[in-house]
């Protein structure tokens, strides 16, 4: 099955809201945007909002956006848009009835025997990218991936190093974040290599947009790239505990970001994100595995199909710590929900626990789960041939069977998804394998990819440009005092391998 460019849903999406409920939530959102308003810590943005009819309190940095402007900007944002990859065969169309899956990042890697977290090495970071490049259901890469950083890299260099690794070892579409002006280097690197990127504007719920997020928005949009506007609320903490109220605030935030993007450059390609999770009321941490996320995402998917703007669903982070029953349940609920309710993108592959750990073994397992959902989304083909009335007539009742039919030889391959890691053996066969589990199969596939998959390399001049931008970033952050002399010495030590930058 050709899943490289996303999954196509061939049936109507799940509806969890009535039309009246959609309109009620929309009215509530408009009311919040006009009455409560949003906090924006950026004078240039405040002036831009003001010039277009918003009520702006410059001292309080509060912007109140009128309904007419909201609806005008929603109309200007494309309902779907191309996301060009370094390899044109992997270019995506984001929006419509397509679901594209991406990498779910982790702060650290895990030891795949003890499952305890530890910092990834440079080689592990690059190897994880190579595995993700090889997996057909990884359609694009999200920011900070696969790891938030790796051994030797000062934290301020995590973003530029992440993008460099992904550009070097993958030809898929790339998304970038922002921190300490990292988007400046991302834009420079993308332009120098000749690729497009998806930038990020991330809200600080409730209803606040800090300076660095706005700066990133201006830079990405003015560079002509597409923008992902991300919420990030926790229900019961930074949003209402009620799901409807948390749809209103998430929508208010991402709509305000979308309005800003359209005011900077009308027609900007925007992907908005419903990044909502309930709070674990015992610890204060997000309950990323909660089923409430799926219902929130399903409702938001319905709302944003109504608005006609693509929506990214809450990253599929599990609360589980190992790839076990809990992990598979939490991930399966989320990806299946995105598939059937009309999510356009979902950060999915590789997260072992929350946003804290990532591992390529998990990415391989997730590729199988994603493939199953991709198959489900293709739905049921109903045609004269697939109905097979003539075949049924020919086979007739028992002792007839379909195994020798040419129809079977053609159609089973069209209908069945063949998992690469799920065990479908009989008991005797399973015992004969030494009782291998899906993890054993995943390890085998991961090792096979690492041995054989050679990502299309950058040209020598592109490689020079990537390294030039990295050097400029290093110098910039050292000048800013964000890299100490000791850190820089250690960082340089880790770059002395003959196989730099790959290990």
């Amino acid at each position: 099955m050709g899943f490289t460019r996303g999954f196509t849903r061939r049936f109507p999406p799940l509806r969890v809201l009535s039309e009246e409920q959609v309109e009620e939530i929309h009215r509530g959102t408009l009311q919040v945007l006009w009455s409560t308003g949003v906090h924006v810590e950026h004078e240039r943005a405040l002036k831009l909002f003001e010039q277009h009819g918003c009520r702006v309190d410059h001292d309080a940095m509060r912007v109140r956006i009128p309904p007419g402007l909201v609806e005008d900007c929603l109309r200007k944002a494309p309902s779907s848009f191309p996301a060009p990859a370094r390899d044109p065969n992997k270019t995506l169309m984001i929006g419509g009835n397509t679901l594209c899956l991406a990498v779910a990042p982790g702060h650290k890697t895990v030891d795949p025997t003890t499952w305890e977290p530890r910092e990834a090495t440079r080689k592990e970071n690059y190897d994880a990218v190579r595995v993700l490049d090889a997996l057909p259901t990884v359609h694009f890469f999200s920011p900070y991936t696969p790891y938030f950083g790796f051994e030797g890299v000062p934290s301020c260099m995590a973003m530029p190093e992440s993008l460099a690794a992904r550009i070097r070892c993958s030809t898929k579409f790339q998304c970038v974040g922002f921190s300490n002006d990292s988007e400046v280097f991302a834009i420079d690197m993308a332009k120098a290599v000749g690729i497009e990127i998806l930038g990020t504007c991330a809200w600080a719920p409730p209803l606040a947009l800090y300076r660095d997020a706005v700066e990133s928005t201006f830079r990405i949009v003015e560079a002509g790239f597409c923008l992902r506007v991300v919420g990030g609320q926790v229900m019961g903490g930074t949003a209402t505990a009620s799901i409807a109220g948390a749809i209103v605030t998430n929508n208010a935030e991402v709509i305000a970001g979308l309005v800003l993007a359209q005011l900077i450059r009308p027609g900007t390609r925007v992907l908005v994100k419903d990044f909502t999770a309930p709070m674990n009321m015992a610890s204060g941490a997000p309950a990323f595995g909660g089923i409430e996320i799926s219902i929130h995402n399903a409702a938001c998917n319905q709302m944003w199909q109504w608005y006609g703007v693509p929506l990214d669903n809450t990253t599929a982070y599990p609360n589980a710590k190992v790839p076990d029953f809990q992990s598979a349940c939490e991930k399966a609920m989320r990806v299946m929900n995105a598939g059937i309710s009309g999510g356009n993108t979902l950060l999915f592959h590789g997260s072992v626990h929350g946003e804290l750990t990532h591992h390529p073994l998990q990415s391989v397992l997730d590729d199988d789960l994603a493939g199953m959902v991709g198959r489900f989304m293709e739905g049921v083909t109903v045609s004269t041939e697939s109905l097979g009335i003539d075949v049924i007539e020919k086979v007739g009742p028992v002792p007839g069977h379909f195994m020798s039919s040419p129809h079977t030889r053609k159609w089973w391959k069209l209908e069945q998804y063949l998992p690469t890691t799920a065990d479908r053996l009989t008991y005797p066969e399973w015992i004969a394998t030494g009782k291998r589990t899906c993890l054993d199969y995943a390890r085998e596939r991961m090792e096979e990819i690492l041995t054989n998959h050679k990502p299309t390399p950058l040209t020598p001049s592109q490689e020079d440009e990537v390294e030039r931008v990295l050097e400029e970033a290093r110098a910039y952050y050292q000048k800013q005092g964000l890299i100490t002399d000791d850190e820089m010495r250690y960082y340089r030590e880790t770059m002395k391998s003959p196989n730099y930058p790959f290990e």
Binding site: H107, S155, C156, D212, M281, A282, S283, G284, A285
Partner: protein
């Protein structure tokens, strides 16, 4: 009458009712009740809520609700303490905040509340706090402990910056420093010269007592 007011003040905290807490604190001041007794009644209530939270009977909204109620009454009583020039018992004083560049509030608020339950006077200086603002707070409140939260890898290094600034200003030895946050480890806390780290909010509150030997 005095015992009724103290009981009602305590109950207002247990009911998570800031209006009632402020009302009973005001009445207590009007009736001339010893402010130390009123603070003790509230601490007793927030400690019960904290104990309930720690054993899983109560949850975060209860903890923060109790802290809000206590926060409504505390300034009224503190004002009376200042007017009388009275002394109050406390475990110690803490300045707490989330570092610059980081706007995560939940973990910091949990620790602040549980510190109150441990009998600390807590000055919560909020989120996105610059090194200069931390320095200023240390000068203003002269705390026993400075507690800094940073959820993200990118902002954890800001804790190091604050500690370096405290050294530059000659304030480092006047205060114990606790750090916490999702991205932190004991190794990181050691590397930046913090005095203490704990991965959980209840653990952080106990750590504060240990740091002061109380």
């Amino acid at each position: 009458m005095s015992s009724d007011i103290l009981a009602n003040l305590k109950q207002a905290i247990l009911d998570y009712d800031p209006d009632a807490a402020a009302e009973w604190a005001t009445k207590g001041v009007e009736q001339g009740i010893n402010p130390a007794e009123m603070l003790a009644a509230m601490t007793d209530a927030i400690r019960r809520i904290g104990d309930g939270f720690n054993c899983g009977d109560l949850f975060l909204p209860d903890l923060v609700g109790g802290a809000d109620a206590m926060g409504a009454a505390t300034p009224i009583i503190q004002e009376e303490v200042r007017r009388l020039g009275a002394k109050t018992d406390s475990t110690g004083t803490v300045v707490i905040g989330t570092v610059f560049g980081d706007i995560h509030t939940i973990g910091k608020t949990m620790v602040a509340t549980l510190l109150q339950a441990e009998g600390f006077i807590v000055h919560d200086v909020g989120i996105n706090v610059t090194a200069d603002e931390f320095i200023e707070s240390v000068r203003t409140h002269n705390p026993d402990i400075l507690a800094m939260s940073a959820l993200m890898t990118m902002t954890a290094t800001e804790q190091r910056k604050v500690i370096e600034r405290l050294k530059d200003e000659g304030l480092r030895d006047s205060v114990k420093i606790m750090v916490g946050g999702g991205a932190l480890t004991q190794e990181f806390a050691d590397s930046i010269g913090a005095d203490g780290y704990d991965p959980t909010a209840p653990g952080a509150a106990k750590l504060a007592r240990r740091l002061l030997g109380r």
